[in-house]
């Protein structure tokens, strides 16, 4: 039985049978030596054990949950399945997990010995005893002891060893790592038909992968280099920060030259950086002004200098404005001559007023829904079809601001004329002031005229509109959604994005307190919380 929380649904149990108690995830087209190689890239699991393959259904959310026998004993820890869910599942064997748990409780880490050689089984090798050395890492204890790829280890500490099948490789490697760090290991080898002796002294097993980190203000993610990662990428040095993601338009993407995924950062303004701690010390994500930076990066073996431009205090999204145009605040539908004849409209057709916006110039001039507009400034406005009033709106936009514009309107069978003083059109949504709150992974903007119309928001109500919520970010965890109108933050009214930025300023908030948002979603208000635990987890 697989117990866990598939797709977040806690206390779920599914049932199946074990399909293979020692599964290696190796395809028919892979050499077994490739298995360990691929583990060393970005998947450092299952090097020291074979999976329990079973068909109890597991989905995202089951990972870390127990695989339990019908007697109630934990036999494994579910770890892998299909990303879309399903009944092909893989669990870490319970004895392996138990050892790791005990190590973590006792020492806070899992001590492992490192010898620096890989092995493969004797399968299809023609040999019937020993284990084949498949690789030797440069400058490792194995290399220092003279081991070479192709050697066959036939005894360790005087005891014969044989690894006949691939499934026996992980337990063999685990036994190697469980030896005391720093202890010697006597190895008997067969090379070119001759037996040789070698003595290996283990070191501490190096980490496969370093810590990940993100500098949001720069738009970049890194992972710390480890000897393993450096080796797999043929890098010159094994200390530095490997660039794993670059956000378009942000500082590193617009640097000179721009950074690329795969670059390795070695120093910033002359200070060496190689770890998360080094970067945190530079306080690059403080939200303040940022000076120009000179960064040393390694790319394809070349040592480059890249200059990051200075950044003003506020990284305000600069909007491209559309020229202010005349606007009188009406919506219309075109009426062809044929339709006009049916509804008693003007013989030439025209544009029927379908909406007059409150407070707009047209409303002040007395324009009413149902009027049919036939001419602007004494000039007829042609109707080109049943759909779209662009010719009319275009003509209105061409009018001069603040200069009276004469409208010829057909109302109740009579032609009337009204003078309207156009105003500048309300700002389009795309040009409204906006802010990106990096630590929340949230974008907000001011409320505009068209937002108020679309959402029936009163002209005097205050708030900001959620423009975007990054998947997996803290705003998403607070259940904020694109289109929400944030009315209050922690009970304080939010008149605009500037105030919102102040209210959500991370530095001025008391640690450990939840952040609340009163939002308008559709016709309902909702109170949403960002749990303090989520924030602290970052």
């Amino acid at each position: 039985m697989a117990m866990g929380a598939p797709w977040g649904m806690a206390h779920s149990v599914s049932q199946g049978v074990v399909n293979n108690p020692e599964r290696l995830l190796l395809s028919l087209f892979q050499d077994e030596a490739d298995y360990e190689q691929q583990l060393g890239q970005n998947q450092p699991t299952a090097r020291f054990y074979a999976w329990i393959q079973h068909d109890a259904s597991i989905s995202p959310g089951n990972s870390g949950g127990p695989l339990v026998s019908m007697d109630g004993e934990i036999v494994g820890i579910n770890t892998r399945g299909n990303s879309s869910g399903g009944d092909m599942a893989f669990a870490i064997p319970a004895p392996v997990a138990a050892t790791i748990v005990a190590d973590l409780i006792r020492e806070g880490t899992v001590p492992r010995s490192f010898f620096g050689f890989g092995v493969r089984s004797l399968k299809r090798s023609g040999f019937d005893r020993g284990v084949l050395v498949s690789s030797v890492i440069r400058e490792s204890p194995a290399a220092l002891a003279g081991l070479e790829a192709g050697d066959r280890i036939i005894a360790i500490d005087g005891e014969a060893v044989t690894v006949a099948e691939p499934e026996q490789v992980p337990p063999f490697l685990r036994a190697m790592t469980e030896r005391r760090i720093g202890s010697p290991m006597a190895v008997t080898l067969s090379r070119d038909g001759l037996e040789r002796k070698a003595k290996l002294v283990s070191t501490t097993y190096p980490p496969d992968l370093g810590h990940d980190l993100e500098v949001k203000a720069w738009g970049v993610t890194f992972t710390e280099l480890t000897p393993n990662v450096a080796r797999s990428r043929y890098l010159n040095r094994d200390v530095g920060l490997l660039v794993t993601g670059v956000l378009p338009g942000k500082r590193v993407a617009t640097a000179h030259p721009p950074w690329l995924v795969g670059d390795v950062v070695h120093a910033i303004d002359g200070k060496p950086v190689g770890s998360r701690v080094d970067m945190q010390a530079l306080d690059l994500d403080n939200g303040g002004a940022a000076p120009r930076r000179v960064v040393e990066i390694e790319r394809n073996g070349a040592q480059l200098l890249s200059v990051l431009d200075a950044k003003p205090v506020r990284d305000e999204d600069k909007k491209l404005r559309e020229l202010p145009k005349a606007w009188i605040g009406i919506a219309t539908q075109p009426i062809t001559a044929t339709t006009a004849a049916l509804i008693g409209g003007p013989a030439t057709g025209g544009y029927r007023i379908t909406r007059v916006y409150d407070g707009a110039p047209a409303a002040k001039a007395g324009v009413q829904v149902g009027d049919v507009l036939t001419a602007l400034a004494g000039s007829a406005v042609p109707v080109s079809g049943d759909i779209g009033d662009e010719p009319l709106q275009q003509r209105i936009r061409e009018a001069l601001l603040d200069e009276p514009l004469q409208l010829d309107l057909w109302r109740a069978g009579k032609l009337i004329q009204l003078g309207v003083a156009p105003l500048a059109a309300p700002a389009p949504v795309s040009s409204l002031k906006s802010r990106t709150i990096d630590w929340l992974d949230l974008g907000v903007r001011n409320i505009g005229f068209y937002d108020r119309v679309a959402r029936s928001i009163a002209a005097d109500s205050k708030g900001v509109i959620v423009d975007n919520v990054a998947s997996g970010g803290l705003a998403g965890l607070a259940h904020l959604a694109t289109g929400d109108v944030i009315l209050r933050v922690d009970g304080e009214v939010v008149p605009d994005v500037d105030r919102f930025e102040q209210l959500t300023d991370r530095k001025s908030r008391r640690a450990g307190t939840p952040l609340s948002f009163l939002v308008l979603r559709g016709s309902r208000t909702r109170l949403l919380y960002l749990d303090a635990e989520w924030e602290m987890g970052r």
């Binding site: 404005r321 042609p382 003509r395 936009r397």
Partner: protein, 258 residues
């Protein structure tokens, strides 16, 4: 027979000579127009370079490009096609919300090159007018002596059949030399907007006397899904000089509101 033959030769010579005389006159006239336009307006014509940044799925690409711009105000306003500051491509408006989220297309790093100056001046996008297909840049720190704007009040109306001329400034590798192109007004339309339809060069259009006729822009119909495949030549619309002048005044007013 001889006289008949002689008569035919004379007639043929006359037939050949008359057009030659007309062509020569026409050439002279064209040369005079070009010289006049270059003398009158070349100092207002600049080269504008910019960088188009496109990004999709985290991969960013940059491409440097340049166009002709026209100084239209002593405050440093430069008239350019709207696509220069607000790049797009046919069908972009039909992208899904998800596609738009992961797609970025923008222009940046505007630089204005004046004739005879070895260093460009930085500029920024001020505003656009989608109806006329134009945009205005503002030179952020220009030498006032270099700013010799076209006077948009010196303008004239256009009718179908009117020839128009457009001044361009070539790319740096051609020494930023000014040249003249031309076109002709083919007709007029009132929908979707009031404009003339032209064929030939795009840009700020002058008549032979050097008066401004309006701005000729290329009209891409974003709603036409087949525009890029079936219609080889997008329409060119000339909006009037009066509209252009009015819009430029409004663009300039934005400087005061900043």
């Amino acid at each position: 027979m001889k006289s008949i033959f002689r008569g035919m030769v004379v007639a043929l010579a006359a037939w050949l000579l008359v057009p030659c005389a007309d062509a020569s006159e026409s050439d002279d006239e064209t040369r005079a127009v070009f010289a006049h336009l270059l003398k009158t307006h070349a100092d207002s014509i600049v080269r504008v370079s910019f960088v188009i940044v496109s990004a999709y799925g985290g991969q960013e690409q940059r491409q440097e490009s340049s166009v002709t711009g026209v100084i239209v105000d002593a405050a440093g306003l430069v008239l350019v096609p709207k696509l220069v500051v607000d790049p797009s491509f046919p069908g972009m408006s039909r992208m899904s919300a998800d596609q738009k989220m992961s797609f970025k297309l923008e222009s940046r790093d505007f630089r204005v090159y004046f004739a005879g100056q070895d260093q460009p001046f930085e500029a920024e996008a001020l505003t656009t007018d989608a109806d006329q297909g134009i945009a205005w840049l503002r030179i952020t720190a220009a030498n006032a002596k270099l700013l010799k704007p076209v006077d948009l009040k010196q303008r004239a109306g256009a009718d179908p059949g009117t020839a128009y001329y457009v001044l361009e400034r070539l790319e740096e590798r051609y020494g930023n030399a000014p040249i003249v192109s031309w076109g002709v007004i083919q007709g007029s339309v009132s929908v979707p907007q009031q404009a003339h339809v032209g064929t030939g060069a795009a840009g700020l259009a002058f008549n032979a006397e050097g008066e401004v006729l309006g701005y000729v822009s290329v009209d891409f119909d974003e709603s036409d899904s087949a525009a890029t495949t079936t219609r080889q030549n997008p329409r060119m619309l000339l909006t009037s000089a009066a509209r252009l002048a009015s819009a430029t005044q409004r663009a300039k007013s934005l400087l005061d509101s900043e």
